[in-house]
Symmetry: C2
Subunit: 128 residues, 2 copies
DNA sequence: GAAAGTACTTTCCAAAAAGAAAGTGCTTTC
DNA sequence: GAAAGCACTTTCTTTTTGGAAAGTACTTTC
């Protein structure tokens, strides 16, 4: 159950930073993780089906796989309630919330990049 | 030549942030981009073969593909010198350098995450 | 008692990504 | 003139990823 914690191996001094960036990147990559984290961060606790409805387009298999990976990395906790039938709730851990600074930086850069690309496209169409 | 600028479509208000994060993530994803950026950031200008030696394991096809994507997104400039045979140099653009804040956040988080995971593994082996 | 809902897992398949190897065209070095 | 270096591209094969559909098991509602 613990092999999905991807950690990159390299020896050099300067390569430590590279490895760290890759570790973070791998944790967030895949089409769905950011959307899942975002829903959890916005809504607090969420059940499987709720998440599936939040994250449009995701199938049960993918959702279950992504949640497992997030759980292994301790970003998300899964709580099972002994009701009939069982209720399962997912939530960000407080550790998961520490990712928010990273996500915020990415969001800021991404927003500004989009503006740049759109402006560029606009300028090009003018030139023609 | 300009279709590789990946921009996600979604309508909602809150989804704008999601889209921005995905834009950034897509730009940096793939096994090699971060390593290429890192070599360029450390060494300044670099030629194709130098990069291939810097980034261990990368093949010519991948290197050329990744460089093209970075170029399209204006993170890297490619300069051809009219020597015989031609000399080609790659370098980060000043815009490319603006990514450094994002990369730095990822690096910080990744380093601390690794510590956490290693400590956890250590604690577990003790308990056994 | 049939349908629908929750929480998944399993199987099967198609598409995409990645790597290995060879090829191109030109030049300098031995 | 053979070999090797630069900067790639092309082709072919393998691996990985992702999705659709069905299945499991249990329960509440009509």
């Amino acid at each position: 159950m613990s092999k999905k914690v991807i950690i990159h191996e390299k020896s050099d001094l300067c390569k430590g930073r590279l490895r760290s960036v890759h570790d973070t990147l791998d944790l967030l990559s895949g089409k769905w993780k950011i959307s899942i984290i975002s829903s959890l961060s916005f809504n607090g606790k969420r059940r499987f089906m709720e998440l599936q409805r939040d994250v449009e387009g995701i199938g049960a298999k993918m959702l279950s796989k992504e949640l497992k990976e997030l759980e292994i990395n301790e970003l998300v906790i899964r709580t099972v309630y002994d009701t009939k039938p069982v209720t399962v709730e997912y939530a960000l851990t407080s550790y998961g919330k520490t990712l928010q600074s990273v996500i915020h930086e990415m969001s800021k850069w991404g927003a500004q990049h989009r503006k740049r690309i759109v402006k560029q496209a606009h300028d090009k169409s003018k030139a023609a």
